[in-house]
């Protein structure tokens, strides 16, 4: 697990609409580096969630991969081998990511089994639960998904990502449905893991507040293209693309006292 850079080159995804192929992601180059947070932003329908899936070599049903190479430290890899070992994911609706009939312990055991380390369950589980801020590991381990709130499940997703030991985390709108308190906790948790574990994070969001809070670099998507890539401070100071200006315009309208 020494990879430092996860990247995708020339990612192209298309879907069929009325029998005609429509290209939804049109040749994207994107990289995530360990110890850094890259934000992928854009309006809904710009293709950012698809790109996030494409980085793990996944495509939703009905979507075809026309091109794109995933690389670890510059070396081409078979994308299908990434999920779990190299890349962990956190999604907007964590509930759908859990098996409703398995307890948290069973989910953790499954994750460790992928790593070939199921024996370490009793030692590692309390450790990662504490790390993500889920108290009383014994109690949490016995819970089923329906017994947990959205915020708890989101933390559990991150705990599982830690158990998997994956160096990269792809987070697709991880806090969109959460209230501000839980959102703040999750964002600072991710930030802390980047600092302490050197996690490399790609966070997909439409909220420039999340970007301001967490990101080091920003890639702006519009209609299947990346139209701008910049360090976060530069993007906020001087956005070059219309898409970035539109997102920042909406964002700033929410802070009348700062941008009067």
């Amino acid at each position: 697990m020494t990879a430092h850079r996860l990247s995708v080159e020339g990612l192209r995804l298309s879907a069929r609409r009325d029998g005609r192929p429509v290209e939804l992601v049109r040749g994207i180059d994107l990289a995530v580096e360990r110890g850094r947070v890259t934000a992928l932003v854009g309006a809904s329908g710009s293709g950012k969630s698809l790109t996030c899936l494409g980085m793990q070599g996944l495509t939703p049903p009905g979507v075809e991969r026309l091109g794109g190479r995933v690389r670890l430290d510059g070396e081409a890899v078979e994308p299908a081998t990434l999920p779990g070992r190299m890349v962990a994911t956190v999604m907007q609706n964590p509930r759908s990511a859990f098996n409703p009939v398995l307890t948290m312990r069973a989910h953790a055991r499954e994750t460790l089994a992928v790593r070939g380390d199921a024996g370490a369950l009793e030692r590692l589980l309390p450790e990662v639960l504490a790390e993500v801020g889920l108290p009383e590991p014994e109690r949490i381990a016995r819970l089923y998904p329906f017994e947990m709130s959205g915020g708890m499940l989101q933390r559990m997703m991150i705990a599982l990502a830690l158990l998997a030991g994956a160096p990269f985390l792809l987070a697709d709108e991880p806090t969109t449905d959460l209230d501000p308190l839980v959102q703040a906790h999750i964002l600072s948790l991710i930030g802390r893991l980047v600092a302490t574990r050197g996690l490399g994070v790609l966070i997909v969001t439409h909220d420039m507040g999340v970007v301001a809070r967490l990101a080091d670099d920003v890639a702006v998507m519009e209609a299947g293209h990346i139209v701008e890539t910049a360090p976060v401070a530069a993007l906020f100071a001087a956005p070059r693309s219309d898409a970035a200006r539109a997102l920042l315009g909406a964002h700033r309208a929410l802070y009348p006292e700062v941008f009067a």
Partner: protein, 287 residues
């Protein structure tokens, strides 16, 4: 955003409108049998005309499928049997749906104490097996198709009522019902416009899948001598009559058996197709 690919509604609708081959087969089977049931009274042969000189004959120009042990025309009896079976099942389904939707729907919609009482009442009915109830009713009221129909309906409606109640309970909590109430719809209108159509679509599917089962019940009870009594042509009765001749004239038993098989299969295939068409949430991945 979790919106990945939104297939536009039109192409989905078009694909769903195109029926599968199995559905067409089911529709054809049911159509042909229903047509036979309707046409039976118009045919020149009398299904109850006894001709002791022409007993147990094989197929001939006069009797296309031959005759039974009393010299009655087998084809005529099979076709008339279709109208008896389908007629009985139609009445059963109508009774079950009316009771199920009426009682289950109200119970779920009103909720509270009414709901609890009605559901205990349903549980009572659910514990009585069809055959036991049928024997009890026949014992009290005498044999006959009417009693068999009543027995089957009474032992099945509670199951439907429970299903309808469950659907109503889940639909009632949906936001579009709240939106309808806020839009000023009265409770009966909310029920009729927003809840009932959703329930009906799923229920038609279930009922179609259950028709085969009902046909077997009618035939089974008639076979036992509880239902349709001998001169009337009915498939179960015909199989019972044919038992003595199973070695000499096996076709006497095979034909009504085949009719039951085809009818049950037809309704099941049709039900599967309807399920996929009307209620994609129940559909399997088998296409």
């Amino acid at each position: 955003m979790s919106v990945l690919v939104q297939e536009d509604g039109l192409s989905v609708a078009r694909r769903r409108l195109r029926p599968r081959r199995t559905t067409l087969a089911g529709l054809t089977l049911v159509g042909v049998i229903a047509l036979a049931a309707l046409a039976a009274p118009l045919l020149p042969w009398d299904p109850e005309a006894v001709d002791l000189l022409a007993r147990l004959e094989g197929p001939s120009a006069a009797h296309w499928l031959g005759t039974d042990h009393l010299g009655r025309d087998l084809l005529a009896r099979l076709l008339h049997g279709a109208s008896v079976s389908l007629g009985a099942v139609a009445v059963i389904i109508a009774l079950i749906l009316t009771l199920g939707i009426g009682i289950g729907g109200l119970s779920g919609f009103l909720g509270g104490r009414t709901d609890r009482i009605v559901m205990r009442f349903c549980d009572g009915f659910l514990t009585v097996p069809t055959f036991v109830l049928a024997m009890f009713m026949v014992g009290v009221l005498g044999t006959g198709l009417t009693n068999v129909v009543l027995a089957i309906a009474l032992s099945h409606w509670a199951w439907y009522a429970r299903i309808v109640r469950g659907m109503v309970l889940s639909l009632r909590e949906r936001d579009f019902v709240a939106a309808a109430i806020v839009s000023g719809a009265s409770r009966p209108r909310v029920f009729a416009e927003h809840i009932l159509p959703g329930v009906l679509a799923q229920l038609v599917v279930l009922a179609t899948l259950d028709i085969g089962h009902m046909i077997l019940h009618v035939a089974g009870l008639s076979f036992l001598g509880l239902g349709v009594t001998p001169p009337t042509p009915e498939w179960g009765v015909m199989i019972n009559d044919a038992r003595e001749f199973i070695w000499t004239q096996p076709m006497l038993m095979l034909w009504p058996g085949l009719m039951i098989l085809l009818t049950v299969m037809g309704f099941n295939l049709l039900g599967d197709g309807l399920r996929d068409r009307l209620d994609p949430t129940l559909a399997g991945d088998d296409h």
